[in-house]
Amino acid sequence: MPDPAPLVRATDLAKTFDVSGPWLNRMLERQPRQLLRAVDGVSFDIQRGQTLALVGESGCGKSTVAKLLVGLHEPTRGGFEFDGEDAHAAFKTPAGRHLRRRVQMIFQDPFASLNPRWTVEDIVAEPLHEHGIETDPEALRVRVDALLISVGMSAQDRKKYPHQFSGGQRQRISIARALATEPEFLVCDEPTSALDVSVQAQVLNIMKTLQRERGLTYLFISHNLAVVRHVSDHVGVMYLGRLVELAPKHDLFDSPRHPYTRMLLDAIPKLHDTGRARTPVSGEVPNPLNPPQGCAFNPRCEHANERCRNERPVLQMFGGARVACHGVEEGRI
């Protein structure tokens, strides 16, 4: 059955950072330009009302993808279509501001993502102001109250400052702010990784409830696979700027194919399975400035062979999943 047109479609998204030293130094020391391929050709679709999770180690480019999607970065290559419209082209035009209303983001750190000098009311009202959604002060107040209540806070919290709230409450304020423009697509960059398990549960529950009520679409970034398994419909595994596996949740967790995915799953401590000795993951995360030849994972992969060291694998369909691995392709794994 062909999928309906996805709400979000990223095609070959790439972002390269120039991290070279100043020109003079480079000339004198004869150093080449240093380019960091933070995201290197990532493609995915997200259907309306669904959640795609991105997982991977620190520095693999998850946040960069997120920032590309909300227009905080310009892509070096590739594009991102939102509801059939080229979002990056639209972000640049004044008329494209309406798109900003439909795409919002929730950040990782609830302590840094709220301006410490603003009251909750100001914070939540800012997008309403900015987009001229609500200009009448009284209506604005009502609207803010409603938003706060919708994320499980009380209307009396309006006049307080962020520092007067706990982490979980702050994250709810961020969500309220993100919801103010009634977006359809929410990019959540590790929204709970700074939070405690008990608070995390509260936040995840709110997100889920909202999704159910409003039909929100999420891109959910995390390195916590247990959380990912809980919230997502599809999961993408990233390694050094590339997707190495993209699969429906159950496929991925039940039958991981890429050796890296397997390694990640293996690294999750199991709660009710105490005292189990795991085979520790070996090796270090490679330097993104100087990625290995061939498959980026080959230095840490026990299945790596000559081909893996030279040729870069591309994503291919295997059953329900798309995997970029020579081993899987060759049936070795």
Binding site: V70, G71, M105, S113, E130, T181
Partner: protein, 303 residues
């Protein structure tokens, strides 16, 4: 307004103020000085700037309590018959005004440029920071000296107001660099904070982000710096006046009074030197104390 004051009194800063005798004393002294100078025309017993009231016959009177003193000149008079006490009030008024104005000017320029440099980055940043380097390689006094000299030569109109303008300009011309650097530093940190990114995602324009989000959050260190710079500016003004480019002699600032008093250090007329010096020290000291306290109070890590 009231709410914010309440918040202040209840906040850690407010509390730390109320529990620091040094800060309160300094604030009190500073307030008294500011009051006396702001309301000098009403508070001062004489108007030392009104030349018609000066009597050479009253010149060089010692303070009222010493033999030969005159009760209407509490702290004595100088060689023109100016009442020292009144001259101090009027002089402090000029010094404070020059100090405050030059700090305000350098804060305005420095903060604006620092914000721009930090927020825009790229060649704007590069250019502004090189400019700072150039400014820094001119020692402050030198610049002030040159500007003051040039200013006076270029506008020979000789009106006092202009002289002060030149003073203020020359002091702020080197002062802004510090603010620019500080603000740029904090802006670089601040602009990568998630709340700024959140504002960008919402679609707030960069200028607005700078003004409404970044600016208030980088003002803390600026405030501290500014407090202390007020004292420094007053002293710079005194020094410039020592080097002969200060306020006009008929409307002496604290610095000019000290410079003049300087000539009386060896002669018996100690009061001409001592009182202006003491007032300058008291002002500078209390402002510095306030700045010190503020620095500690605003630093959450030192609380």
């Amino acid at each position: 307004m009231i709410a914010s004051f309440k918040r202040w009194a209840d906040s850690d800063v407010g509390h730390s103020f109320l529990s620091s005798p040094a800060a309160m004393l300094a604030a009190f002294v500073a307030l008294v000085c500011v009051f006396c100078s702001a309301f000098a025309p009403w508070v001062a017993p004489h108007n030392p700037f009104d030349l018609a009231t000066l009597e050479l016959g009253n010149a060089l009177l010692p303070p009222a309590w010493s033999p030969g003193g005159n009760a209407s000149f509490l702290l004595g008079t100088d060689d023109q018959g100016r009442d020292i006490l009144s001259a101090l009030m009027y002089g402090a008024r000029i010094s404070l005004a020059v100090g405050l104005a030059s700090v305000l000017l350098s804060v305005a320029v420095g903060v604006a440029l620092g914000l721009l440099a930090g927020f825009l980055g790229g060649w704007v940043d590069g250019f502004l920071m090189r400019l700072c380097d150039v400014m820094l390689s001119f020692p402050a006094i030198l610049v002030a000296l040159l500007i003051a000299g040039v200013g006076r030569a270029m506008f020979p109109g000789a009106h006092d107001a202009l002289a002060f303008g030149v003073l203020i300009l020359s002091i702020s011309l080197t002062g802004w660099v510090q603010y620019a650097r500080t603000v740029r530093g904090s802006t670089l940190v601040e602009r990568n904070k998630e709340y700024v990114q959140a504002a960008r995602v919402i679609g707030v324009s960069p200028m607005r982000i700078m003004r409404r989000h970044v600016l208030p959050n980088v003002l803390g260190p600026v405030l501290v710096l500014a407090t202390i710079q007020v004292a420094t500016a007053i002293i710079t003004e005194a020094t410039l006046s020592f080097l002969g480019v200060g306020a006009p002699p008929t409307a002496p600032s604290l610095g000019t009074l000290i410079r003049v008093g300087n000539d009386y250090l060896f002669s018996g007329e100690w009061w001409i030197t001592v009182f202006p010096g003491a007032v300058l020290v008291v002002i500078a000291f209390s402002v510095n104390l306030l700045g010190d306290w503020l620095r500690d109070a605003l630093n959450p890590r030192l609380r």
